[in-house]
């Protein structure tokens, strides 16, 4: 608790991050309870197609006459869910690979890092597109695909941290006490290596949301749920007649990603005090 207060005091100092945190909480709240409050079905053809924002439809209707506001609210769920889950997935893989490589070094390190290089050599977005086309788009598959293409940076970071820590005295002491490798990695080194990883994975949420929107825009999204990228893709066909249709979900993405990035910076300030903000 004391640790948290300390953290909070540091975090609070970054005003932009604080504001962003509240906006982000509001967006999350909308994503969770929004669909129960605003009960319009985003797939229901309610009114005339492609109408501009009006009293009945605050954000207008899409090409099928569906309520854009409902789409935006339901889309928040999908975007945040995929963003967070993909980031967790990437962080987990990155942690395992990076920690193993960094802790054991030598051949293990070499093999794992060559694998990492492989993933860095294929353009990540291309790889995501290929994976989803092969395994067909569903929320789970999109999440996994984004996770698969975004773990390498985490692995490299974790590896660097582990290399820096593995010869430290507390590690040597733990080893002398007969702790197993796994125990040392998880109990001893990980807590020390975690702060920068937390920052990176919070930023990964932002990247994942952007990637998801790009995939959906190309039509590679789960057809059972509505997502912001998909809404942009639908609006694109009538860009000339109704520019607001792709504009609105894009702004939603922009605001969400901006807030996540700002919060990430705030986290960085609070967690990694040794890195001075310039």
């Amino acid at each position: 608790m004391k640790g948290f207060l300390h953290f909070w005091r540091r975090f609070r100092r970054n005003r932009a991050a604080l504001v962003a945190l509240f906006v982000l909480l509001a967006i999350t709240l909308i994503a969770i309870v929004g669909p129960y409050v605003y009960t319009v079905d985003p797939f229901e053809m309610m009114g005339r197609a492609s109408t501009p924002p009006s009293k009945r439809f605050w954000l207008g209707t899409d090409v099928s006459g569906r309520d854009m506001l409902a789409g935006l609210i339901h889309g928040a769920r999908v975007s945040l869910l995929i963003g967070i889950a993909a980031s967790l997935c990437a962080t987990l893989v990155g942690l395992i690979v990076g920690a193993t490589a960094g802790y054991y070094g030598r051949a293990v390190d070499n093999i794992l890092m060559r694998c990492t290089d492989f993933f860095l050599t294929i353009p990540s977005f291309v790889l995501a597109v290929v994976l989803i086309a092969i395994f067909r788009p569903s929320v789970t598959n999109v999440t996994i695909a984004i996770g698969i293409v975004s773990w390498p940076p985490v692995a490299r970071l974790v590896r660097a941290e582990f290399i820096a820590q593995r010869e430290r005295e507390y590690v040597l002491a733990a080893r002398a006490l007969g702790m197993s490798d796994i125990e040392i990695m998880i109990r001893q080194i990980l807590p020390n290596a975690l702060p920068p990883v937390i920052v990176v994975s919070s930023l990964l949420v932002a990247t994942a949301i952007l990637t998801e929107s790009g995939l959906s825009f190309l039509g590679l999204s789960d057809p059972n749920v509505i997502s912001w990228g998909y809404m942009i893709g639908v609006g694109r066909t009538v860009l000339r007649l109704a520019w607001w249709m792709p504009a609105i979900p894009g702004i939603a993405i922009l605001v969400t990603v901006l807030c996540i990035n700002l919060v990430g910076e705030g986290l960085n300030d609070a967690l990694n005090p040794r890195v001075q903000r310039r």
Binding site: F43, E44, M45, L241
Partner: protein, 535 residues
């Protein structure tokens, strides 16, 4: 159509004499370039390689067949053949060829080219070659300008198959040194990219990714034709950019629904442009939901009727296809001037009745309001099909059928539907083509329940009466009797609903009014355009 075949057979000699006058509409104006836009870019310049739309449009200006066709009912007219006779037993077709035809490389065109094209190229390697020429027992060439087709059994649609896109006559000499035993080698032949035909336009240049230029064939056998100097295809990947090009007059034509439907709707209101759905009757695209009938509950006709009752076809046309289409009533499109059964009633939209039918069929709503769950696929041909899937899911959900949509790309979809039969329902569309025995039969007869054959009877639909009628119609030489057979088939399928018929899609063409003479028959965009002229 058959009527005209018979009358022509009797009056073959008269026709020979009047051939000149029958096609006498000479050019009102000569010169000028017709530029049309389409996307995707053709992958070859021959329908042997693939008869995909972009390939068929451009290659039919370069290649010709024995016949040309007039009107939506596709009345055969002379082309490379100047006259023909059909034996009384309808088994021998004798075509007299023109003497004055030259290939674009200057070599003379003869009967050998026809025999070679049909036997070695079209029959084995055109995607419908076996349907057209499978019953041909022999092709004889008694002299260089006579071709005699002998059939094993009568083929009622035989006079329909000599379309430039379906049976293009190719120069035998261009295949010297090409291994004709495999599809791969034939498709790699030089002529697939650099065509040599007999048509009114010859290939000039292909700037990949940008345009294909065809120029006037000055040696064209039809004197004074073609009217145009050039036909140019511009490839523009972006739909909105294509629409603007048509709007500003930079291009003259966007054929075959080559623009996004929303843009067609917008352009149709402009004074300088003409918009028409006519000229594609011999293709007859028809869209439906294919139902896998191998399992309950979809094997129950009441359930299929209920699904049909829930879907508002007017709304699908207006909202999802931006008005570009007509509610379907059965397997044959209503624009078909010969075979459509006018007695068919429109499908009803009545969700209440659907609920009652489902109750009756024994699929009562559970405590959660759900009757049963199923999955659906959709044809991955773009955004409209996604929105159709969303609409279907939404409307079926309202009567308690929970639908999960699965998205597959074309490769995955084809495999799931036509090779694995691993689906519940899926949207798809199919062409009627110029005869129901060619385009409709393949979806509904039990002999077409074949794994690995695309756009066939994926439903597993078996109806002995339908099989029998199709079998008869495929050999029936009396037009009246044949029409009656197809009428009955349409009525049975309308009631049985092996597929949920939804919308007759339209191929809408948008062109600048300075272009004249485009719509001439049921496949106007796959015709030679030798009489098209520009102000």
């Amino acid at each position: 159509m058959l009527k005209s075949v018979n009358s022509i057979a009797l009056a073959a000699t008269i026709l020979t004499l009047t051939a000149g006058t029958a096609l006498a509409q000479s050019c009102s104006k000569t010169g000028g370039t017709l530029t049309y836009v389409y996307h995707p870019e053709p992958t070859a310049l021959s329908t042997i390689a693939t008869s995909a739309v972009p390939v068929a449009i451009i290659s039919t200006k370069i290649y010709e067949s024995l016949l040309s066709y007039e009107g939506a009912e596709m009345t055969p007219k002379p082309s490379l053949a100047e006259s023909w006779t059909i034996s009384d037993d309808k088994l021998t077709y004798t075509f007299k060829l023109r003497h004055d035809v030259k290939w674009h490389d200057g070599k003379p065109f003869t009967a050998e080219d026809v025999k070679f094209s049909v036997e070695k190229i079209i029959r084995p390697y055109h995607s419908r070659g076996k349907v057209y020429f499978g019953d041909v027992a022999s092709i004889d060439t008694p002299d260089p300008y006579t071709v005699v087709f002998k059939l094993k059994d009568p083929v009622p649609f035989f006079m329909n198959v000599f379309q430039p896109g379906e049976a293009p006559i190719m120069p035998k000499h261009a295949f010297d040194g090409v291994d004709l035993s495999t599809a791969g080698a034939v498709r790699k032949a030089d002529i697939m990219q650099k065509p040599i035909g007999t048509g009114p336009f010859r290939f000039k240049e292909w700037r990949k990714g940008s345009d294909i230029i065809l120029e006037r064939n000055s040696d064209y056998w039809r004197k004074g034709h073609p009217c145009l100097d050039q036909v140019v295809l511009r490839v523009l990947p972006d739909g909105a950019a294509r629409a603007i090009a048509v709007e500003t007059g930079e291009v003259d034509l966007a054929p075959m629904s080559g623009l996004p439907e929303a843009e067609i709707l917008r352009l149709s209101k402009l004074p300088q442009l003409e918009t028409s759905k006519a000229g594609a009757e011999a293709l007859g695209p028809n869209m439906w939901l294919e139902v896998n009938m191998r399992e309950k509950p979809l094997s129950d006709v009441k359930v299929r009727q209920a699904i049909s009752l829930v879907l508002d076809r007017e709304k699908i046309v207006d909202v999802i296809w931006y008005g570009q289409g007509t509610p379907a009533t059965g397997p044959i499109v209503s624009a078909n001037p010969v075979f459509y059964n006018k007695a068919l009633k429109p499908f009803e939209y009545n969700p209440k009745k659907a609920n009652a039918l489902l109750d009756e069929a024994g699929y009562k709503r559970g405590a959660d309001g759900v009757r049963f769950k199923m999955s659906q696929n959709f044809l991955p041909y773009g955004e409209n099909w996604v929105r159709l899937a969303e609409y279907v899911r939404q409307e079926l959900g309202k009567v308690g059928i929970v639908v999960e949509t699965q998205s597959l790309d074309l490769g995955g979809w084809l495999k799931a539907i036509y090779t694995d039969w691993n689906f519940n329902i899926t949207s798809t569309f199919s062409h009627n083509y110029s005869d129901p025995s060619i385009g409709v039969e393949r979806t509904f007869t039990s002999s077409n329940i074949k794994k690995g054959a695309t756009f066939t009877n994926s439903m597993g639909y078996k109806n002995a009466r339908v099989d029998e009628l199709f079998a008869k119609a495929a050999r029936e030489m009396d037009p009246k009797a044949r029409k009656a057979q197809f009428d009955e088939i349409q009525q049975i399928l309308h009631n049985d609903l092996p597929v949920i018929f939804l919308v007759e899609l339209s191929y809408t063409h948008v062109w600048n009014k300075r272009i004249h003479g485009l719509i001439t028959n049921g496949i106007s965009m796959y015709s030679s355009w030798d009489s098209v002229w520009k102000d």
